[in-house]
Amino acid sequence: MKLILDIALTHVLARGRQTLIAIFSVATGVGFAVMIAAMLEGTENDFIDMLVDTIPHVVISDEPDRPAPQPAHAVFDAAEIRGLMPQVRRRGIKNPRATMAALESWAPGPLTPSVRSNSLLRYAGRDLAVSVIGIDPAREVKVSRLAEHLRSGSLKSLYTASNAVILGTRLAERIGARVGANVSIVSPSGVRINSMVVGLFRSGSRQIDETTIYTLLTTAQILENQIGLVNEIRLRVPDPMNSQPIAQRIAQETGYKAVSWAEANEDMMSSLRVRNIMLYAIVGAILLVASFGTYNIISTITHEKARDIAIMKSFGFTARTIRRIFVTEALILGTVGALAGFLLGYLLCLWLGTIEFRNPMVDFDRLPIAYSWRHYFLAGTAALVSSFIAGYFPARKAASVHPVEIIRGAA
C-alpha cells in the first residue's frame, strides 16, 4: 500500500496552496469543535459543581409525598365535604432522630438536620424576607461547603453569642450590616429575636447569598416556636450525578418528600441540554462545511488527473487501486487537518481560559475550560469520516474513468 500512499502524497504535495486551504478548513472545523466542546463541558461542569457544592444533594423536607387525606374523608364516604376545618398538621419531620438513624444505616453519605424558617430580617429600618436555616455545625461541615464559603467568622463562632447568625455577603451588603452588627429577625409565628452577626459567607450563587441566614438549630427552633423541630434533613452523597435513585428510595421509606439537586434544578439541567444540542449542531455544521473544502480539492485533483488515471489504468492499475489513491488523499487532508485542528483547538482553549468572565447569576473569575481527550477524539473522528465521504465520491468517479476515452482525446 506504500505505492498508493506515495502517489496520494505526491498529488497532495504538488498542489500546495489548495492543499493548505483544505487542511486549514478541516483544522478550523476541528479546532473550533474542540474549543466549543471544551467550553461547553467546562462551563457545564463548573455550573454543576457550583450547584452541587452549594446545595445539598438530597433534601428531605417535612412535606408529605402526597397531601395527607383529611380525617373526615376516612370517616365519611362522601364525594365532597364542605365547610370543614382541616386538621392542623404538626410541622416538622416526626421523630427526626429515629428517621436520621434509619437513613444513616444505609445512606451512602453524611446527613444533617436543619430547620428552615421563612422570616423577616430587620435592620436599620429595612425589612427583608430571608430564609433562616438552623444548623448543627458539627454535622453541617460534613454535608455542605458552608465552612469553606465563609468569608469571615467560623461556624464555631455561632456559639460565641446568643442567637448568633451568619449572613450571606450580598444580604449583608444590602442592609449594610457588618460582623458584629445587631439585627432582629421576626418569624411568621410572631417570635422576634435579636441576633448578632458573627460571620459572612459567599457561596457564589446570588440567590443564596442574598437571602440566606445561618444560625444554630436551637435558635431556629425558638424562631419557629417549636422545640425539637427539624423540618429538613440534608444529605450529601459521594456521587452527586447518581443522587436521584437515592432520593426516590428515601421518599419511599420515610414517606417524606425527598428531592435530589438535579430534580430541584430540572429547568436549569434541561436548558443545559438544549444548549448542548444547539452548540453541537453548530459544531456539526462547521465540520460539514470544512468537508466541502476536502471535496473540492479531491474533485479538482481527480479532474486534472484524469489523464494520469487513464494511463495508470492502461498499464494495469485496477479501479479499486485508483479509488484508494483518491480516498487516501482525502484521508491525508483529513488527518493532517485534524492534527492541526487539535493544536488550534488546544491553543484556543488555553486562550479562552485566560479570559475574565463575569456573570450576574454566578461568579467565576475565568471561563472554565474542560480538557478531555474525548473532545479531540470526537472532532477528529468526525473530520476523518467527513473527509472520507468527501473523498469517496470524487474517487469513485475517478475510478470509473475509461482509459480509451481519455487517451483518444488527449492524443
Partner: protein, 238 residues
C-alpha cells in the same frame, strides 16, 4: 537468439467494436488477426480507419462488441476488470503518441510505477531495474529529472522504458513517433526494432506513416474498420 519458432501471443477472433447510439458507429469489424512472438507489426490506415481502436481492443483497454481477444491463448472475453488489469500489467506494455508520463514523479519513479503495482520485486530491485531500463535507453543522466525537464524524444523513450518495466510479451504502440522530429523518431524506432530482434518482444505499432510501416516486418492495412491487407515485408529492415 532464440529460434524462429513463434508462438501466438495475441489473437483477435471475429472482433467487432460498435459504438451504441441512435446511429451505431462501427469502429472495426471482422477482425481476425494472429500475432506471434518476435513479430514487428505495423497497423496502418487512413484517419478514422479504426487502427487505434484495434490497438485498444488488442490491448484490453476496450471490450469488443463481438468476438474475442486471446492473450497467450487465454480468452479475455469473460475476464473481470481486475483480471484484465492484471493481464495488462504482466503481458502488455503501452506507448502512446503522447508520452503520458506522470508529471509529479521523476523518470525513475515513472518507470518503477508498473513494477510497484505488480510488486514482483523488492523496492530496491525495482529501483535498480528502473534505472537499468533508463540507462539502456540512454537516459541514465536524467533519471532524477521530471518529465517536463526533458525533450519530447527523451520522454517517449521514458514511456518505452515504462512499457518494458514488467517484461511484457507485447508492446502496443500508438503513433509512437507521431510527435517527434525525424532524429528522435529514428531513435525510438531503433529501440523498438532492437526489442524485437534482441529481446524477442512482440511490437505492434499503429502508424499513419507508410515509410515507417515499410521498415517493419509485417504490415496490416485497415480501411473503414476492416483489414484489407496483411503481408510480410519483402525486404528485411535495415
Amino acid at each position: 537468439m532464440s529460434t524462429a519458432r513463434t508462438e501466438t501471443v495475441i489473437e483477435a477472433r471475429g472482433v467487432a467494436r460498435i459504438l451504441p447510439g441512435i446511429v451505431p458507429v462501427t469502429l472495426v469489424r471482422d477482425i481476425n488477426l494472429s500475432i506471434g512472438s518476435h513479430e514487428f507489426v505495423a497497423i496502418t490506415g487512413p484517419s478514422g480507419s479504426g487502427k487505434s481502436s484495434l490497438m485498444y481492443l488488442l490491448g484490453l483497454l476496450d471490450l469488443p462488441t463481438e468476438g474475442d481477444v486471446l492473450i497467450r491463448g487465454r480468452s479475455t472475453r469473460e475476464m473481470s476488470e481486475e483480471e484484465s488489469a492484471r493481464a495488462r500489467l504482466t503481458e502488455l506494455g503501452f506507448v502512446f503518441q503522447f508520452h503520458f508520463l506522470l508529471e509529479e514523479f521523476t523518470l525513475t519513479e515513472n518507470v518503477a510505477l508498473p513494477m510497484r503495482a505488480l510488486a514482483a520485486y523488492s523496492p530496491a530491485e525495482i529501483r535498480e531495474r528502473a534505472d537499468g531500463l533508463l540507462a539502456a535507453l540512454g537516459l541514465a543522466d536524467h533519471r532524477h529529472k521530471r518529465p517536463d525537464q526533458i525533450s519530447g524524444g527523451q520522454r517517449q523513450r521514458v514511456a518505452i522504458a515504462r512499457a518494458l518495466a514488467n517484461q511484457p510479451s507485447v508492446i502496443l504502440a500508438d503513433e509512437p513517433t507521431g510527435n517527434l522530429d525525424s532524429k528522435s523518431s529514428d531513435q525510438v524506432f531503433d529501440i523498438l526494432r532492437s526489442l524485437v530482434d534482441e529481446q524477442g518482444t512482440t511490437v505492434v505499432a499503429v502508424t499513419h506513416s507508410e515509410e515507417l510501416a515499410r521498415r517493419m516486418d509485417r504490415h496490416v492495412h485497415l480501411i473503414d474498420g476492416v483489414i484489407v491487407s496483411d503481408e510480410k515485408a519483402r525486404a528485411p529492415a535495415s
